[in-house]
């Protein structure tokens, strides 16, 4: 990453933490809740959310849910447990192998073909979402999102799966900024050091699957999105055309994942179009 861009992606971690903890407290309490729940994968994003939530609510009002599948790397669960232990927060382990395997046993038979890794991965992400929202009803808690700005822009997540949440404290932070925040919050070192992975199949890493590194993505996305430069301007500035084009195309193609479903307008006033209220309406 060029030094000039890295400098502009530097965050004031203390101020960011104050903002995000205030955000969590106010948005949750306004909605009439006093507890939160979130999936804890063993990765850096959900670890940062765990640290922020614990700062915002104290250890007694949060719950971490670990949802391994049989192919999940054992170190994922171990890293998640390290976060739980460090924060002293309530947690629960719900193995999703049973429901996911039962589903594909039936569906593979009906369709007569084995599901692709992508379909299996998406099903796992959605099984975790179902589990979290069910437990949130049991706990009377709001579900926290753990997708960062890089993932949201790239559309690197499962619609109605890991992208689903009530509120998301880290969705406006690029991956490199989540790392800075993680260091400030004291996230355990092994989580900071390991390569990011959705851990949906063996040896998966995000960067291998995406075809570029998070640093490359952040450097390009920051200039496309925050600085409003065009792909052509970045290419003229010396960035590899294949990289810039791949990222720009992903951002555009996955816009649908960032929006609610499109509604056909037939009336004078339509939900999502000219029926305009904040979600905080009445809170």
């Amino acid at each position: 990453m060029r030094a000039s861009i890295a400098r502009r992606l530097q965050i004031n971690a203390a101020l960011t933490t104050d903002t995000l903890t205030a955000f969590l407290r106010e948005e949750v309490e306004k909605a009439g809740f006093d507890r939160v729940i979130f999936g804890l994968s063993g990765g850096i994003d959900s670890a940062v959310v765990a640290y922020l939530a614990t700062r915002a609510f104290g250890p007694k009002r949060v719950r971490a849910v670990m949802m391994p599948y049989r192919t999940s790397h054992p170190s994922s669960l171990a890293d998640a447990r390290a976060v739980v232990a460090a924060l002293g927060i309530p947690s629960v382990v719900i193995d999703i192998t049973g429901p996911v395997d039962a589903y594909f046993k039936q569906v593979d038979e009906v369709l007569g073909v084995a599901a692709s890794p992508l379909r299996r991965g998406n099903r796992m992400a959605r099984e975790r979402m179902c589990t979290l929202f069910d437990l949130s009803a049991h706990d009377q808690a709001l579900v926290l999102g753990t997708s960062n700005k890089t993932e949201l822009l790239l559309g690197y997540g499962t619609q109605f799966g890991d992208l689903a949440s009530a509120i998301n404290p880290i969705g406006d932070l690029y991956k490199c900024q989540v790392r800075q925040l993680a260091r400030y919050l004291g996230v355990p070192q092994p989580i900071l050091d390991k390569p990011p992975s959705a851990d949906l199949w063996a040896d998966q890493t995000d960067e291998k699957e995406l075809g570029f590194t998070y640093d490359e993505a952040d450097e390009v996305l920051f200039q496309l999105v925050d600085l409003r430069l065009s792909p052509d301007e970045l290419i003229a500035d010396g960035y590899p055309p294949a990289l810039v084009t791949a990222i720009a195309r992903r951002v555009q193609r996955n816009q649908y994942k960032r929006r609610t479903p499109v509604i056909a307008k037939v009336s004078g006033r339509t939900v999502g179009l000219d029926f305009r209220y904040l979600r905080d309406w009445g809170l």
Binding site: N12, T19, Y277
Partner: protein
């Protein structure tokens, strides 16, 4: 006129769309300010309604004569109160407005002139722009009101200063944006710099009162402050939390500052007027082609 007075900055967190709850909070905070010996309390932009009212505009708008508004006006018997709400005119136009109430009367009403309608802001979709800046007398000298974005236009404080304002009152709903800066939010740094320049160039006291709280993830940073005509911030509220901050404003400072650095004295408004007139004529001439050319262009 007193040489000093105590001002209170009411850095509240309004409840979106709940005018009754917000009026109650304003009244309670005004009572606290009175107990602390303040003569003036200033509340943030849209403190009675919340900021992103969108289609709630129709529900929260109040004409100045409305009982909700008059309750606050009536509370200004021995404490001047500046508060902000969505005003509905007789013509059913809606404005972002702030009122200055004193001795149980509404002394002045300012309608926000510059409505940010770009990026994350969408004010122009819901409300009409005000059309003037005018200073008015108070017991602390002449004052002028600006609402948030009004102050991002150089001409607004300039016009108020020429109109004799010694005190600029600036209710705001400014978002907490840009966490890159060591000093604080980028938006906060900008306000400090901007208002320091105005205070020093125009020789005015400035009361900047910004709200706190979140609306759909948008946080408002607070950080309200009192700035003296020499550019010093003599009191400043914390960020991201409600606070009632009081400060003693030294009105005699303005006299010395304006004598020492008489920039306002040396302003040449007649030069500005002539230049603007010339520029407006030129602009109109170039924006609308001459009659022949226009007709030429329309020919099928």
């Amino acid at each position: 006129m007193a040489r000093t007075f105590k001002v209170a900055l009411g850095q509240v967190r309004p409840v979106l769309g709940d005018v009754a709850a917000n009026v109650e909070k304003h009244l309670a905070w005004a009572a606290r300010a009175r107990e602390e010996g303040a003569s003036l309390i200033v509340f943030p932009e849209l403190g009675l309604t919340g900021y992103q009212v969108q289609d709630l505009t129709l529900d929260v708008a109040r004409p100045p004569a409305h009982p909700d508004i008059q309750r606050l006006v009536a509370a200004s018997q021995d404490l001047d109160i500046v508060f902000s709400f969505v005003e509905e005119s007789d013509e059913h136009l809606f404005y972002v407005a702030c009122a200055y109430a004193a001795e149980g009367r509404m002394v002045a009403l300012h309608r926000k002139v510059f409505l940010p309608t770009y990026g994350m802001f969408d004010e122009g979709r819901y409300v009409a722009p005000g059309r003037r800046f005018a200073a008015f007398p108070t017991r602390f000298g002449r004052a002028g009101m600006l609402i948030c974005e009004d102050a991002w236009h150089l001409t607004s404080p300039y016009l108020l200063a020429l109109d004799g304002a010694h005190l600029l009152i600036l209710p705001a709903s400014s978002p907490a944006r840009s966490v890159q800066d060591e000093e604080g939010f980028g938006s906060q740094s900008f306000w400090r710099k901007l208002l320091e320049v105005y205070a020093r160039l125009l020789g005015v006291h400035i009361l900047f009162v910004n709200r706190v709280g979140f609306e759909d993830g948008v946080g408002f940073f607070g950080g309200s402050f009192v700035m003296a005509p020499d550019g010093e911030r003599i009191a400043e509220a914390p960020v991201l939390q409600e606070a009632l901050v009081t400060a003693e404003v030294d009105l005699t400072l303005l006299r010395r500052v304006r004598y020492t650095t008489p920039i306002l004295r040396d302003e040449k408004p007649e030069l500005v007027l002539r230049a603007l007139e010339r520029w407006l004529v030129r602009r109109d001439a170039s924006a609308f082609p001459a009659r022949d050319e226009a007709e030429e262009g329309c020919r099928p």
